[in-house]
Symmetry: none
Subunit: 223 residues, 4 copies
């Protein structure tokens, strides 16, 4: 009968990871203190070190679990049956949905990228990100290929390049959205971008809902 203990251990671990996500997002890795993480997780500082070898280890575990969680979610989204266009719309929808959470997550993601960029060639972060984006690209590529085969898409690029560009665009939009730069991620703007992307992929999107007249708004939502 050691499962309760194991469960408890798991819970504690997750509580600490949650707290760490908060604090790292608020303060950034370097400025975050173990004291604060412990306090927000409602454990003692010593306990932190029973679950994680070091601050760095805690950050790495958080990164890995975030990536795993993300990937599981997106896998679920893509795995659904349907036409290429339906799949693509589902992915776009999910991704854009993320942007609304980006106010919370953005800083943390930036920290992950920053850490990756600072690593020696092919460190854990870089490698993990490359692997993850590699898989993302594969999945997107498959969608694009399916769309090409079925005649749904008339791609500007080849499927793989299209996947790369779309992924880069997603991250670019997320970045700008988070910083309040050129794109404000309200629902209408997102819908506009989505429609544009679909048309750029050679797909004529369905008309927008009644409150967004096709002509003016689609042509220039922010003119």
């Amino acid at each position: 009968m050691e499962e309760p203990t194991d469960d408890k251990k798991q819970n504690r671990r997750l509580a600490i990871l949650d707290a760490a996500a908060d604090v790292f997002a608020d303060r950034g890795y370097a400025t975050a203190t173990c004291d604060e993480i412990a306090k927000r997780a409602a454990v003692s500082k010593g306990t932190l070190y029973n679950y994680f070898r070091s601050k760095q280890d805690l950050f790495t575990q958080l990164f890995l679990s975030s990536v795993a969680e993300d990937e599981a979610t997106i896998d679920g989204v893509i795995a659904q049956p349907g036409t290429a266009r339906e799949k693509l719309e589902a992915v776009l929808g999910y991704w854009f949905e993320q942007f609304s959470r980006y106010d919370d997550l953005g800083r943390l993601v930036l920290e992950f990228w920053s850490t990756a960029a600072a690593e020696e060639e092919d460190g854990t972060f870089t490698q993990t990100l490359q692997d993850m984006y590699g898989r993302y690209r594969q999945r997107m590529t498959q969608i694009f290929k399916q769309g090409q085969s079925s005649g749904e898409f008339d791609l500007v690029y080849g499927p793989s390049m299209a996947a790369s560009v779309v992924l880069a665009l997603f991250d670019g939009i997320g970045l700008h959205s988070m910083m309040g730069l050129s794109v404000k991620m309200d629902a209408k703007t997102l819908a506009t971008i989505k429609r544009g992307m679909l048309r750029a992929l050679g797909v004529e999107p369905e008309p927008l809902a009644e409150n967004t007249p096709t002509g003016g708004d689609t042509k220039d939502a922010d003119a």
Copy 2:
């Protein structure tokens, strides 16, 4: 005859900024030490503080001068006369050219973004970035409008939205390129992306040079 002194002072200032750029790029703001910056600038630690009020000030000055430099360059690029398409190609060319320098600059830029994200609402970094991107978007918007008037472009979005999306895409590509994620910024890939963007904007790009047969490569450069 005080120019020699002033020049010397300017040089010292620039030498310190250069060194700081290196160290901040290598280690990130929080991990970088003033000791190391001083050492790399070949001045004493005290001298650092004769030129900059604090580590934070040094970082901010570096950010501001980077932004100013960037903006001056891009102004020059856009100011050139020509068709909308020529202007757009010039901007694309310049931007993509930056990516090759991104191995050096990328981490630093990430630090800038990170700092902005960590700021209180409307801090210096955020404000400066928003201003800068605001101006970028204006310039891009003008190009798109010119292209629309002249009938060169048949835009998917309105000019302003198009500008926003293109800017976000640029940064997304830069980010992915730097991290070695989905896009490798070699000359051929860049050319491919450029052609695709132009076509997505409704412009039929000129055929590629002889070594890049239209069919296969354009369709899928990385298949």
Copy 3:
């Protein structure tokens, strides 16, 4: 059973305060180093900051506890029943007794005064000192009033002014004594001053002990 821990904490705190008193007295606030205080308290520098927020805080706490201790003592002295003259003699006795400790304390007290003088209008130190001296004056005033009512004293000043002057005189004597200036605080001199003060207050003091012939010594102890 948390008292042992609390006691230990209290002891540590007191040990640090003691060490700080030593070092501040030796070197003055500005010249004292936290390193030395830690060393003298036989704790690490970090521990200092577990108990006190800053060097300034440590100094302030030391000041406040000194004042509190002083005041508690003098309260006890004054609270005793007796004639006004007996009370006055008790206060004088206590105060003069302090002077012998002044070799140790004097510098520290000077630091307190100095800090108060350097403060913005109505800082903590100034306010605390003003409060403390306000209470001292009240107590002394009461004694003088009692003496007047009972016919013991024939005051040169009104009771409140008398209290003020006597307090100022005490501090002046303490200051001069500490610096080895005009007054050396040996027992005989103190006795002489005490007798003089009493006479100046209109009280005819009791004759001195046999080894201090009234005539010569009272008239000029240091001629």
Copy 4:
């Protein structure tokens, strides 16, 4: 013809001493910076070191010149012919007059005392102060002796002890006055104290001016 140069040198020296007096009074010795002194004296930092060997030396010179100036003034006051009482009144008048300047000077004087207290046994400051107060006491003693001989004074103490006590009282009053403790140094209070001191010395002072009725006010100016 080097006198103009010498004069200039003297002026510079005095300008620096003046500036130093200001800054030391404002900030205290340890917190004062040579930078600020130089700026306030309108000379370069290097020039400071042409006139004074070090910050410590500057402080010491300032102390010595302050003491010399003080002493010259008081010598002049005492040297005037007259009865003992007239001389005493002149000294009291001068001293109390100082108190009104104490807002400016007080902090500086405290710094001097503090430095003296921190010195090794018989350092420059201590020695100088002891010498100065020794001479003060001598002069006061002479006045008291003259007063005794002429029958003007009926001293509580012997002349030398009286001198010591009076000097200590002066400094105590100055200290308290500066800190806004028990005594506020307005003209009326000073007059009251002066009258009281004279009576304590056995001299019946002249009646106060018409606006200060003898009875109430003399008895208790602040009741």
